[in-house]
């Protein structure tokens, strides 16, 4: 029959209409956003920050974990030159990181040539193995950075190749154990941003699906699902989090989770994400409720699209605008929450750093006798600045995506 053809035609029209609608909305929003100066500055700042955070291992920063207790405790911000690996306690060859690396590589090469010269394959495999062991354990990087992943390792190698032993002076000062605060702020950014983003994504997935399903089905299902949300709103989640973090931090539990490849920080994201989805789900539900009687949904239904498809292909993309706005508002909330948990001693554990941990350390150092202001000001400014930018961006996006603002300037 020609219903196929009709259907095809219909779908084509549908696709076209969706295309037109979508494009115009986004373009319109974009052009409005571009006119909002604060939002644009925030956006650029955030992008710069994200880039810097990703590139941190490449930057000529000092070691975030190497503690120089005798020389460099509580140094105020300064521009004194610092040579990587020059701390006597490290006993690096020539007092530099590159010197030690050269020496180390030399000895590895010696072993390699020995491996080449042996004919016995078993012996060779054994030497190869011990080379790998040595690189893993004795490489000077272990003294300067903690648990580098393969990418970060490679970036650190690049950094040494490009900058050698040069390191940016302690522009942000040093902390009570003589670590460079600038480096720590940068390395902390990686953890804080990842916690913020991943936890928010988790909340996004839960909140959007939940809200969309409730809104789409409506009626009793909706009522029941929303009552559950109401109920959850009344639960003091901080308590649940404290409990979960303690519970999941137990050795026995941790080993079990490790065996299925989940580490503590992942759990951290999931736990936080799992409590920040409530508002998101309410907002999405509201939007879906108003959208579901729109013609394009009816049309999709008429052509026989499944309900899952309608929800996730037709409705969800249409609420994306508001979702993005809430996203930019949830990330700061999550980052603040991470700081709060650090204050309670439940955050990331050293030598990992996060901004929350740094700010908390800084607050500890504020006493009536001595104000080591740099310890709280720099990490605090980094945290507050990011939250600031996210808030402004969120506001800008809300204005930009608000259809009522369409003809206003």
């Amino acid at each position: 029959m020609n219903s196929d053809a009709k259907r095809e035609a219909l779908e084509r029209i549908l696709a076209e209409s969706r295309e037109i609608r979508g494009v115009s909305l986004w373009q319109d929003a974009w052009s409005r956003l571009r006119r909002n100066r604060t939002a644009m500055i925030s956006l650029w700042c955030l992008m710069l920050l994200a880039t810097l955070a990703i590139m941190t291992p490449l930057l000529p920063l000092q070691s975030p974990i190497d503690k120089d207790l005798s020389q460099r405790k509580f140094l105020p911000p300064n521009v004194g030159t610092v040579v990587m690996g020059s701390r006597p306690g490290l006993k690096f060859a020539g007092g530099t990181l590159s010197g030690q690396m050269a020496e180390f590589e030399e000895s590895i090469r010696a072993m390699e040539s020995k491996a080449q010269s042996t004919s016995d394959p078993k012996e060779r495999a054994k030497i190869k193995q011990s080379i790998e062991d040595r690189i893993e354990v004795e490489h000077p990087f272990n003294q300067m950075w903690n648990d580098l992943g393969p990418v970060a390792w490679w970036m650190c190698e690049m950094r040494v190749a490009v900058f050698g032993d040069y390191a940016i002076p302690s522009l942000f000062g040093t902390d009570k154990l003589g670590r460079d605060l600038l480096a720590r702020v940068f390395w902390g950014a990686r953890v804080s941003l990842i916690v913020g983003i991943v936890a928010t994504l988790v909340s996004l997935i839960i909140g959007v699906s939940y809200g969309a399903i409730a809104g789409y089905f409506g009626g009793n299902i909706d009522a029941a699902m929303m009552r559950v949300v109401d109920m959850l709103y009344s639960i003091p989640f901080i308590f649940v989090v404290i409990f979960l973090v303690t519970f999941l931090g137990e050795d026995s539990v941790k080993k079990k989770l490790d065996s299925i490849g989940i580490d503590q920080i992942t759990i951290f994201y999931i736990v936080i994400g799992a409590i920040y989805w409530l508002t998101m789900s309410r907002v999405v539900r509201g939007q879906v409720l108003s959208l579901k009687h729109e013609q394009f949904v009816d049309a999709a239904r008429t052509v026989g699209a499944s309900q899952t498809r309608i929800i996730f292909r037709h409705l969800v993309p249409n609420v994306l605008g508001i979702v993005i706005v809430y996203l930019t508002l949830t990330i700061p909330a999550v980052m603040l929450f991470e700081a709060f948990l650090s204050f309670l001693g439940l955050g990331v554990s050293p030598p990992d750093v996060s901004w929350g941990l740094l700010v908390n350390d800084g607050v500890q150092a504020i006493t009536p006798l001595k104000t080591r202001w740099w310890l709280v000001v720099f990490p605090g400014a980094a945290l507050a600045g990011t939250l600031f930018a996210l808030n402004f961006l969120g506001d800008g996006l809300r204005d930009a995506l608000d259809p009522r603002m369409k003809n206003r300037t």
């Binding site: 503690k67 207790l69 509580f74 011990s130 354990v137 050795d251 050293p350």
Partner: protein
């Protein structure tokens, strides 16, 4: 809603807000106490027989008073600044010690009263010691007076056939046979006394070989509860003495309600314990004389008598209100230099001078605040603004600024900071590995750069400053030797060494030490350490279940003797948790406890300590020092080795008593 309702509602809401603000603004103004100090964590109890921590101890030392009291004697040591403290007569005016050191006779002074006006008698002490040792009190310090005759079997509820026993029947107030147990173990039910003739034990249960220790204990305990005790009960005469044995009648008792229910001839009892009340080593001869008999002489026994678990509580008060209600402000009866005025959770305990105290004329402060305060920064802030007069936990970040001030006091403490190693976990089971780790730690850096309170590096466990004792040398830092040892153990340059985890309880004081240790082991041995923190509760649990590799610990001496630091590590001590055992070590400690000659005893203990410092089941880091701030106008404040500061001897300097020195 009609508009009037709306408007009405807005007005109503406004009124509610105003009312709330007025309610919130009511100020129950409490005048500040004359003397206030930081007392650490909120005390969990002020019952002397239940308390364990230092904050609780400080309060109990002021509210209650024992036979003796730790008080300053002589002048502070010019070198260390330590104020010598000795047990001095308190409730007891004098005491005699028998030649073999096994019998102590305390003579109570006249004019000592409880705060309810009744006199303090020797019977109060006898009863209090029994309460402290009673298994149901669950006093954690009961083991300290194990040497008192019959104290140990009474406390651990061990009875043997032939023992003189006491039986407490199941008829405490509010109890019916077979019904719910009353949780108040004082006042006791009807007591029966006699001689244990036989114990009818059911077949010993089979315990699966792979059963966990917990399960084992549970099964044994269940089994013990089903024992039937056959006792020749002797009636008491009206004056409390025993009638002749010929009047004894055989009675059968069981603590299990099921067994008592199933057989009319068996009575249900709470406890069948040795008769400590009549035959134990703590007896009141008359109102003024209290006699203690020991199984073996204990050189530091007077210190134990001056230690708060052996302080008296009033029988009438405890029995009337029950535990813990008797500790409430409106109920509590005490006998110390101060009495409780009010207790506010997480805020403070306010005590006022007790006018009926025998030595009240020498107590200066009218009111004293024990302020519950954990945060070091907050404490310092409050000290600097004059809200506190004495703080003892100082933020390390400003130590350099504090230690040069006049109001700073520092002195060695009888306590040690160390890391426990789980000696069952490879590679820590290898003595060379343990020695390597210990030698690779730069303790000087830790005490000088991290803790900064004047702590002394520790290479062994007994702190310096115990009279007549010179500690073991221990192994000093030696990185080369450490690397060599590690290589000998099969980990050249740290290759193949697994990542070990280091556990500490959440605290701003422990984290930097752990972080520095992490760096030192990484730098010197290429050993990777993962640091983890846990709240105290989980931390202790994890260590006790031996699910750790390295764990931070501290030990504060209970009495000034090496024994308190050394007997932790004997093979069967449940608090060791290191899985380390050395028969030679156990033997040395055992012979030391039987040795009467102090010099020889100390030598035996020193040999034991040398073993410990060589095998290193634990890695000592440093000996604590106290670092505290006390306002300069306080007279009588000086640090002491056991960290005791009796408030009753402190006073403010008055202008006329202070000669113009500077």
């Amino acid at each position: 809603m009609p508009p009037e309702v709306r408007r009405g509602f807005v007005i109503f809401a406004g009124l509610v807000v105003v009312a709330a603000v007025i309610w919130a603004a009511r100020v129950e103004h409490t005048p500040p106490a004359e003397f206030a100090f930081q007392n650490g964590t909120d005390p969990s109890t002020i019952d002397p027989h239940r308390a364990t921590g230092q904050p609780e101890g400080r309060i109990i030392f002021e509210l209650f008073e024992g036979l003796l009291r730790m008080l300053p004697e002589g002048d502070p040591d010019p070198e260390t600044g330590l104020q010598p403290m000795t047990p001095q007569p308190a409730m007891a005016e004098t005491y005699d010690i028998s030649g073999d050191g096994k019998t102590y006779t305390f003579h109570l002074r006249d004019g000592i009263f409880w705060t309810d006006g009744t006199p303090v008698t020797a019977h109060d002490f006898a009863w209090s010691w029994m309460r402290m040792l009673h298994p149901a009190t669950a006093c954690e310090y009961a083991y300290l007076i194990n040497e008192v005759a019959l104290a140990e079997p009474f406390n651990k509820s061990i009875v043997e056939v032939g023992d003189r026993v006491e039986v407490e029947l199941w008829d405490r107030p509010g109890e019916s046979p077979g019904g719910e147990a009353s949780l108040q173990h004082f006042p006791r039910g009807t007591m029966k006394y006699g001689t244990l003739r036989n114990i009818v034990k059911p077949d010993e249960p089979k315990i699966a070989k792979d059963a966990s220790e917990e399960k084992r204990e549970e099964i044994t305990q269940d089994w013990r509860e089903r024992w039937i005790y056959e006792v020749d009960v002797v009636e008491l005469e009206s004056d409390g003495s025993f009638a002749a044995d010929s009047t004894a009648t055989l009675q059968r008792y069981s603590v299990s309600p099921d067994i008592a229910q199933s057989d009319d001839g068996i009575q249900q009892a709470h406890w069948v314990l040795v008769d400590f009340q009549h035959f134990g080593g703590a007896q009141a001869i008359d109102d003024k004389t209290f006699v203690v008999r020991l199984n073996n002489s204990v050189p530091y026994f007077l210190n134990l008598v001056a230690w708060y678990p052996s302080f008296p509580v009033q029988k009438n008060c405890v029995e009337t209100y029950g535990s813990p209600m008797w500790t409430k402000t409106e109920n509590i009866v005490t006998n110390g230099p101060f009495k409780l005025q009010f207790r506010r959770l997480r805020d403070r305990i306010r005590a006022e001078k007790n006018p009926d105290y025998w030595n009240a004329k020498n107590v200066s402060f009218k009111t004293v605040d024990f302020v519950s305060l954990e945060s070091q920064n907050t404490a310092l802030n409050m000290y600097e603004t004059g809200q506190l007069h004495w703080i003892y936990q100082l933020p390390t970040s400003v130590m350099e600024d504090l230690e040069v001030r006049d109001d700073y006091h520092s002195a060695p403490k009888l306590s040690v900071y160390f890391y426990k190693l789980n000696n069952d976990v490879p590679p820590l089971d290898d003595i060379r590995v343990r020695q390597a780790i210990s030698m690779a730690i730069d303790r000087k850096q830790i005490v000088q750069q991290v803790t900064k309170g004047g702590e002394q590096p520790a290479y062994s466990v007994v702190p310096p400053g115990i009279a007549g004792y010179k500690g073991a040398e221990g192994l000093k830092e030696n990185v080369q030797r450490a690397q060599q040892l590690l290589a000998e153990a099969g980990f050249p340059q740290g290759r193949g060494f697994p990542k070990i985890s280091l556990l500490y309880n959440t605290s701003e004081r422990h984290r930097p030490v752990a972080e520095v240790l992490q760096q030192q082991l990484q730098n010197n041995l290429n050993i990777k350490v993962e640091i983890k923190n846990m709240e105290w509760g989980s931390f202790v649990e994890t260590v006790q279940q031996e699910k750790y590799e390295m764990a931070r610990y501290g030990w504060v001496g209970d009495y000034p003797d090496p024994n308190t630091f050394l007997d932790l590590w004997v093979s069967d001590n449940p608090q060791s948790n290191t899985n380390w055992s050395n028969p030679e070590y156990d033997g040395l400690l055992k012979s030391a406890s039987g040795e009467l000659d102090p010099a020889k005893r100390m030598e035996l203990l020193r040999q034991a300590e040398t073993i410990l410092a060589t095998e290193l089941p634990i890695i000592p880091i440093y000996f604590y020092t106290s670092a505290e701030m006390a306002k300069t106008n306080i007279v009588g404040f000086a640090p002491s080795a056991l960290d005791l500061h009796p408030l009753s001897v402190l006073r403010f300097r008055t202008d006329d008593s202070q000669p113009a020195k500077d």
